[in-house]
Amino acid sequence: MKVFSLFFCLVLLASFLACKKDELVIKPYVEEETWGFKIPSTFPQPDYKFENNEQTRLRFELGRLLFYDPILSLNNTISCASCHAQEHGFADHNVAMSTGINGVQTTRNAPSLSNLAWYPNFMWDGGVNHLEVQPLVPLTNPLEMGESILGILSKLNASSFYKNKFKEAYDVDVITDQKLLQAIAQYTSMLISANTKYDQYIAGKVDFTTSEKNGLTLFRNNCVACHTEPLFTDFSYRNIGLDTISEDLGRELITQNPTDRRKFKVPSLRNVAITYPYMHDGRYFTLSILLDRHINGALDTESTDPFLLSVSPLSPTEKLEIIEFLKTLTDFYLIGDPQFSQP
């Protein structure tokens, strides 16, 4: 009996040793092993998957150069960063409308940029369906950078600097629009905000003040139906009853469905305290006035979201507490991170 159990153990051990060896994978040493796109533990799976555009540091650095380079605009004066400034949470410099080439103004407020890899659609009306094709709009819009794709490609291909950079990053001899757009996406997809005071509080690393805690409770009762955690948007389109006269029809421009009239994408509230003025047209300059109109005074238009019409008004104290909470969404890591700043 003893002999048999010994035999059995030996055979088990033997097969274990034998097979384990085969599964052993030796990882190559990677420099800066911590750098790269990582999904924060509280976040869902991202929409952008780096398909046909595998992430590398060289590609990211190229995207960063492009984001800051006015060469992409018609008269070489405006870069992406002109309207999306890091110190402003990648929104514009606290102006309602942005100024494009030749001093022309945009018709909408430049949103702050963060967690773009999780966005299913882009722009206030959701008309753009993929992170890589989003830059086509500002690059070619006469109110923004006003260039043509062919114009940009001929400028880049005439630059030995960029030809070398694209060669290094993508191993191409000729710069194509696909590689240009993919490089920009390497940069924009990395603008991740997941380390605000709010995130640290959720992770149990810091504590909230009493008003911040009350603000979070109020926020969860009144706001998360649209500004859903942890991205602070559910990416739906809603008419929040701002007015019945403004010309911008929002989502209806894309769907041509009158029930989508003046619906706009629910914006993320990350970095909201520093990205005033607010709303798609930058109409409110303070969070206090915004809450008066957004929560306490939504107009009953045909397509106003019913939630906002039924929600009970916020008291002055409640407003202050919500604002205290919104301030915990400022991401000092993102707006200070040197890897995203002007190269």
Partner: protein, 264 residues
């Protein structure tokens, strides 16, 4: 005692043989029969564009063409459209599907009027299937290359999606003197994607090794106005919707592309 050592050495032997067994399995090369090389040929689709129902003339950019149904005089500056996803069907029901099968036919670029499909397995094909437009996947998959590159200016930036067909030009019948039709739409009620096919009937298309077989097709852009009104009523379309559907489907679903002859 002796017998114990004897038994033990048997176990030791077993232990050693088992412990090397797994490793052995993976290092031993597996012998697979070398796959028979499939012989392949080339198919080209040669498109010639015609105008008119009876008394057909060549469809040429920059010439005045009178539409037989609307009586509009149309002078085209641009005529471009996507065809995609070529599939070849054999009599036995098997298919060959071309990977990365996207073509932008552009009347101002003669080389784009001959579509080349390399690597078609040899055999007799009864039908060729293809799609008018660009499949929905490629409309939502980010920056593309080749025929689908944004630099071909066939992509709507502000409302992402491909323009499947562009027809532009001048007309005395239009109030603005011009017409500009950008047709597309890949989802929901606005979906224009249409699969068409060319049937070679008794006369199948034979593909032989290292040889080019050509199907000559005639395309008639006049079908755009099969259900759509005169340019005096509608001279511009710039987004997916009912107008785009009416116009595109006239061209997509009818007899607008027909087989002329084949050369093998």
């Amino acid at each position: 005692m002796k017998s114990n050592i004897f038994i033990f050495s048997i176990f030791l032997g077993l232990f050693l043989s088992v412990s090397t067994s797994c490793k052995k399995k993976t290092t031993e090369p597996t012998l697979e029969p070398t796959p028979l090389a499939v012989e392949k040929g080339i198919v080209t689709i040669d498109l010639s564009h015609k105008w008119g129902f009876t008394n057909q003339t060549d469809f040429v950019l920059g010439t005045d063409l009178i539409h037989p149904m609307t009586n509009d005089t149309l002078n085209f500056t641009t005529f471009k459209y996507y065809v995609s996803n070529f599939k070849f069907k054999k009599a036995d029901g098997t298919w060959y599907t071309q990977p990365e099968s996207y073509f932008l036919v552009d009347l101002s670029t003669p080389s784009s009027l001959v579509l080349t499909i390399p690597d078609v397995p040899v055999g007799d094909y009864t039908d060729v299937y293809y799609t008018m437009g660009v499949d929905s996947t490629r409309n939502v998959s980010g920056a593309q290359t080749g025929a689908l590159a944004a630099s071909n200016l066939m992509f709507w930036n502000w409302n992402s999606g491909y323009v499947f067909l562009k027809a532009e030009g001048t007309s005395v019948n239009s109030s603005t003197g011009t017409f500009q039709f950008h047709l597309g739409g890949f989802s929901g009620a606005n979906n224009l994607l249409t699969e068409k096919y060319i049937n070679f009937s008794n006369n199948s298309l034979t593909v032989s090794a290292n040889h080019t077989s050509t199907a000559f097709l005639q395309v008639n852009p006049g079908w755009l106005w099969h259900s759509a009104p005169s340019v005096s009523v509608l001279n511009m379309i710039h987004m997916p919707g009912t107008d785009a559907a009416t116009m595109a489907l006239g061209f997509y679903t009818n007899n607008s592309i027909i087989l002329d002859h084949i050369v093998e």
